[in-house]
Homo-oligomer: 338 residues x 2
DNA sequence: CTGAAAGCGCTTACAG
DNA sequence: CTGAAAGCGCTTACAG
């Protein structure tokens, strides 16, 4: 590969002049610039990323830490990843994707070795072990997901509490009095998936406020368990008229469960899920749902991260920003059968 | 951050000695090694990746080019990505994920700038524009998906032709005589999704061989189109007794379509899909299917790529390897209703 | 407006 | 077994 030295030689200038002609960081006579550009074209020159990183202390790479934990619902993660990757590129950054199970070690590795200028953490737990590492790192970090302690990082998440309230309130207004909420698998929650609690607790409170009964359960992430559980739940709560799903696999499993039971939504049961519209359309999930906006959250995180990297907001106050839940109506709610 | 100079100073040795003590590339007295290691621990030293890349011409990073084309079924891609990312890490490599729409430009950028030691291409088209770039790059490349011309690259794919034959043959043996095959959206095929043709053509041939009727159609990638199309197809071919789905979104949409029509699989219609078991379990896809083995394909590609990067097979002959389709029985096939 | 030189932090021949 | 030095390919003060 051609180096900037080759370009300089062909253009008949010094290396510094070639470099400045490319970066535009100081004024260059038109004629020289032409010659340099011609040489670049002729040689097919592209700067060596490692050399540039060494010289500038900037890699133009963002680290993306996505943990795929066993028993978690992986596919939803893709939408976050895509939003992050696309917006990073728009801002001039590439993405180093790290799916290592030991996220702590991975984070330490990529920050200490300076492979990245900043980091986005996905799937953040209440007491996330990666956060202490991130705080000692010299690169800034943005999170998708709300941890217990937000100091030193920018945080973006769906307002899961409001989501829980909206779910309950929507069915309350329609006249429902007894609901079942199916959350993510217990493993997910134990690992610190605080969003599960946030939604569930808020839903429980709201139900209490309205004098409603709300049963809660952890759903599985896969068949055949998830289907069996849904049957068991409906068996256990025959008077429940509404089903809330904070669990994508349960939403995918529900149609056949209802069919098997001879039930229809919303005639026999009102259903509200929590997933993105793109997801619903791709997987034929027919229920009204709280939009989880993964693409938007990913983009927000990257934008803020890049702002910080580029010093525009390096020292500024850190932000914690929630997206308001929006209910997308797919016609799966109605007044309960009396 | 500490540099190797700091380590050397603290350990009271030269930088080269410190470097060799860490790499083990020449013998070092035990005592000196101890001092170096102690210094490393004390300072929390991690080599600077950019500097190392510059010195060694190795980045220990693999580029992963995943194109997410509009109207394509994105979620299935995640399984490939995960297999690739995990196996890369096991082999000591990180992954640079590139989802840029202009894959050609992206590939040129990451190879020319030497950000990566090698590249995995996903979603390879029959006449993939990225291949000429890859062949001129100095890094090796591995593909998941079969292009028209395999020279200079290692190729891994499901044997889609055999998959098509297995689908048809399975239903033929059960006594079916008229089938419908739903493929991916036409856009995907036009863009060069050769695997769609491979499966479809082989299925058509096999059907002809057996004196069966096979109707083919392109399915949509999302609701509501995909559901409507399935209804239209079943309307159009009332005598078809078997449905083959080379389209995940169609598989997800089918259960409700069948319910709406009062049909059941396999009693009224035999169904065979083509997707991974993990996918089927996560999304409650209840049909027997050809296992697409994304995880395995991704791992094979990475292993071969790393072999080539590390010269074990740098100059060796390039391989084109097909995975045999395996039919996972989920009970959705039976003899046709007579 | 342009050039010669130093420096980023490593690795690895070359010498001893 | 160890050290001094060159070099990887850039960028950017420093001089003119």
């Amino acid at each position: 590969m051609a180096t900037i030295g080759d370009v300089a030689r062909v253009a008949g200038v010094s290396r510094s002049t070639a470099s400045y002609a490319l970066s535009g960081k100081r004024s260059i006579s038109d004629e020289v610039r032409q010659r340099v550009m011609a040489a670049v074209g002729e040689l097919g020159y592209t700067p060596n990323a490692g050399a540039r990183a060494l010289a500038t202390s900037q890699t133009m790479v963002i680290g993306l830490l996505a943990q795929f934990l066993p028993d978690e619902f992986a596919p939803a993660m893709l939408q976050y990843i895509l939003g992050i990757s696309d917006s990073a590129r728009e801002l001039g950054y590439d993405v180093l994707l790290v799916t290592e199970e030991d996220g702590t070690r991975a984070l330490k590795r990529i920050t200490d070795s300076r492979m990245v200028d900043g980091v986005v953490l996905l799937n953040v737990a209440e007491d996330d072990e990666r956060l202490p590492i991130l705080r000692t790192a010299s690169q800034p970090g943005a999170l998708v997901g709300l941890p217990g302690d937000c100091t030193g990082v920018d945080v973006f998440d769906l307002d899961f509490e409001e989501a829980g309230r909206v779910m309950v309130e929507t069915l309350h207004r329609l006249g429902h009095r007894e609901l079942v909420l199916v959350s993510q698998p217990e493993h997910v929650v134990e690992r610190g998936g605080a969003y599960v609690w946030r939604l569930q607790n808020a839903a429980t409170e709201q139900a209490a406020l309205r004098g409603m009964v709300l049963h809660t359960a952890f759903g599985a992430a896969q068949q055949p368990e998830v289907g069996r559980q849904l049957h068991a739940l409906l068996d256990a709560h025959p008077r429940a008229t509404g089903l809330l799903l904070n669990n994508e696999a349960a939403a995918a499993a529900l149609p056949s469960v209802l069919t098997e039971r001879g039930l229809r939504a919303p005639q026999d049961l009102s259903v509200i899920g929590r997933y993105s519209d793109a997801f619903a359309r791709t997987f034929s999930l027919p229920y009204s749902s709280i939009e989880s906006a993964p693409d938007r959250l990913g983009r927000m995180a990257v934008r803020q991260l890049v702002d910080r990297i580029e010093r525009k907001a390096r020292a500024g106050p850190h932000v914690v920003r929630f997206i308001s839940p929006e209910l997308v109506d797919r016609g799966s709610t109605a007044a309960p059968r009396s």
